[in-house]
Symmetry: C2
Subunit: 340 residues, 2 copies
DNA sequence: TTGAAAGCGTTACCAA
DNA sequence: TTGGTAACGCTTTCAA
C-alpha cells in the first residue's frame, strides 16, 4: 500500500494537516515546532512517503499539466522538422515553469474536443488547423485557458492565436517568382490540408497575391502521383512555378520530379513553406518561406502560462491579443528564371 | 462553476450514484430505469457536464497516463530523427489504448526520479541512459511498472529493458573496417554520453571488437573542435577510421572535416549509430549501424501496457524479460579503403 | 431499481 | 502551535 499523509500522522502522533504543512506546505499559516517537524520528516523518509500529485491537483484545482494538440500525431515524420521545432518551443516555456506536457489521444485523433475541460489540464495549446464548428464550440466553452497556433486571428472569439502572416508571405513568394520572370504559377497543397483553416488561408492569400501581380494563380491538389508531373517536362508546360503549402509537400514534389523527367529549377521552380532545416538537405536546396515555428510555439506557450496564472489569481482577463509573424523568403536553389 | 455529478443529481431528483452509473458507468451492477436514464442524459447535455478525469483517476487508481523520460529534453534537434522515431513508437502503442503521453520536467531534467511514484502515472518508459544509483533505487522501489530502453539487461533488477545488441553491432562495424583494410581505428563519443551506461557499453564493445580483430582501438572524446581533426589531413594520420557513438556525433564530425581539410572517405572513414534518415542527407551519405528505434519503442511501450494491465488484474508478475535488438550495418558512402 | 455513506489523498478553514 | 472537519468529484459497497 502507498504511504499516505495519515500514515505518517499516525506514526508520529500528530494530525494529518501538520504533516501536510511540514512536507508540502507552501503558504500555509500553520506553524509546527522544529522538533515535531524533524520527526515528521524523518518518518516520511523512512516510510518512503511520496505526496500524491493527483490528490493534490484535485484539491488545488491545479494540475500543472498542459496539453498540446496537433494533427497527424501518428507520424512525427523524421524528415519533418515542424514537430520537433514545435515541441522544443513548447518545452522551453513549460519545463522551467514546472509544467508537464501531455499528448492526449482523445484530443489528437478524435472529434471529442470537449475533453479539454475534463479537469486534467490547466491549459491547452491547440495547434490543429482543422477547426470544425463543434471543436471551436468546445474551446470557447472550455473552463480553462486555450491558446491557438495557425488559426486566423479572431476566428475563435476570445481565444488568442499565434500564426504566420500568410497574406504577406505569399505575396513575397509570388513577387519573387514574378521578378524571375514567371507567368504561369500554381499553389500546391495536399488533400488533407486543403480543408484546414491554414490551407484555406494560404490558398486565398496566394490567389490575392497572384491577382495583384496580374498572374493567373492555379490550384493543384497533390496526390503524390509522380505521373501528374509529366506535363511539366514539356516545353508547353501549364505552369513554370509551384508555391507549396509546406516544406513537406515541396519535398515530395521535389522527390517525384526526377521520376517524371522534370528538372528543378530548369523546368519548374518550387517554393516551400517553413524553411526548416529540411530545405538544406534536398537537391536542389529548397527555397522556402521562413515560418519561425519554434519562436511562435515558445511565445504561445508562455502566453498560455500567463493566462493560467491570471485566472488562478482572479485577474480580470485582458483583451484577447493575437500575434502575427512575418515570414521572410529564404532563397536557395529550387527557384530560377523560367526556360524560354 | 463546473457542473458536477451532484448538480445533475439535484436537477433530476435522483442520487449521485445513479448519475454516475448512467453517464460513466462501466461494469456497474446498478440498473437505472430507461426514463430516468434519458432524463439524466438530457440534463447532463444541457448543463454541459464533463466528468472530472482527475477525480476519477484518484478514485480508480488509474490515470491512463504514461510518462516517457529521455535526456536532452531541451533539444529535440531537428536533424536528429531519434526523438521523433522514439515518440512515434511510443504513441503507436499508447494512443490506440487510450493512454495519454506525458513529458515531465521533474523526470527529464532533475535527479528527482522518485517522482515516478507520485500517483500521476500508471507506468513509465525510462529512456535516459544516465543511470545513477539513486535513480535505479527510485525505479526499483516505485509502485508502478517501469520499462527501460537502452539499459543493459539485468542492470536494474526486475525492470525489463529493450536495447540494442551493442556487442554484436560494434563487432560488425569493426569487421567492416577491417575488411576494407583499416588498421588504425577509434571510437568517437561526446563528453556527455561518455558517462552514460550506453556510452560505456558501446566503448567496451568497441574495445572487445578491436581486440578480436587484432587492431588497436583508441578513444576520442569529441568536443566539437574542428581543429582536433587537423592531424587527419596528413599522411601520417593517427587513425584512418572513426566509429561514432551516434549519427549525431558522426554528423558533427562530417561537418567539421571540410573545415580541417579532411576528406571523407578519402582521408578517414566514418561510421554512425542509428542509421536514421539523417544518414541519407549528409555528404557523403553516412554508413551507420541500424538501430530500429521506433520498433524498439513500440515493443517497449506495448510491454509496459501489458504490465499495467497485469498489475491491475492482480496477475502475478511473470519473470522479467529483456529484449535485445540486432543492428545491421547500412553501408553508404562514408566508408572506404584507406589511402596508402 | 434506488439511495446513503464511505472512501481515494490532499489542503483550507475554523476552533482550541 | 496544534487538531478536527469539511471539502475536491468521483465510484463502490451495502442496505433498502
Amino acid at each position: 500500500m502507498r504511504t499516505t499523509i495519515r500514515d505518517i500522522a499516525r506514526a508520529t502522533g500528530v494530525s494529518a494537516m501538520s504533516v501536510s504543512a511540514v512536507l508540502n506546505g507552501s503558504g500555509s499559516n500553520v506553524k509546527v515546532s522544529k522538533d515535531k517537524a524533524d520527526e515528521i520528516r524523518r518518518v516520511a523518509l523512512d516510510l518512503r512517503y511520496r505526496p500524491n500529485t493527483l490528490a493534490r491537483s484535485l484539491r488545488n484545482r491545479r494540475s500543472h499539466m498542459v496539453a498540446v494538440v496537433f494533427q497527424h500525431f501518428d507520424r512525427l515524420a523524421d524528415q519533418q522538422p515542424y514537430y520537433p521545432q514545435l515541441l522544443n518551443g513548447v518545452m522551453a516555456a513549460l519545463f522551467p515553469a514546472g509544467y508537464t506536457l501531455a499528448l492526449c489521444p482523445k484530443l489528437m485523433q478524435g472529434e471529442d474536443a470537449a475533453t479539454v475541460s475534463d479537469g486534467r489540464f490547466d491549459g491547452v495549446l491547440w495547434c490543429r488547423p482543422d477547426l470544425s464548428e463543434e471543436v471551436t464550440d468546445s474551446i470557447v466553452n472550455s473552463n480553462i485557458p486555450v491558446v491557438m497556433m495557425h488559426a486566423p486571428p479572431g476566428l475563435v472569439a476570445g481565444v488568442p492565436s499565434f500564426c504566420a502572416d500568410n497574406t504577406s508571405a505569399l505575396r513575397t513568394a509570388v513577387r519573387h517568382l514574378c521578378q524571375l520572370g514567371h507567368e504561369k504559377i500554381a499553389f500546391v497543397i495536399d488533400p488533407i490540408n486543403e480543408h484546414t483553416v491554414e490551407g484555406i488561408a494560404r490558398l486565398k492569400a496566394f490567389r490575392a497575391a497572384a491577382d495583384a501581380a496580374e498572374l493567373e494563380g492555379e490550384l493543384i491538389i497533390w496526390r503524390r502521383r509522380p505521373a501528374e508531373l509529366a506535363p511539366y517536362a514539356r516545353a508547353d508546360r501549364p505552369h513554370t512555378a509551384f508555391v507549396c503549402f509546406s516544406d513537406t509537400v515541396a519535398g515530395e514534389v521535389l522527390a517525384a520530379c526526377p521520376l517524371a523527367g522534370v528538372s528543378v529549377p530548369d523546368d519548374i521552380s518550387v517554393i516551400g513553406f517553413d524553411s526548416s532545416s529540411f530545405c538544406e538537405g534536398t537537391r536542389p536546396r529548397l527555397t522556402s518561406l521562413n515560418q519561425p515555428v519554434e519562436r511562435m510555439a515558445l511565445a504561445a506557450t508562455t502566453h498560455l502560462l500567463d493566462l493560467i496564472r491570471d485566472t488562478s489569481e482572479g485577474v480580470a482577463p485582458s483583451a484577447t491579443v493575437s500575434h502575427i509573424y512575418d515570414c521572410v523568403l529564404d532563397i536557395r536553389e529550387s527557384t530560377a528564371a523560367p526556360h524560354a
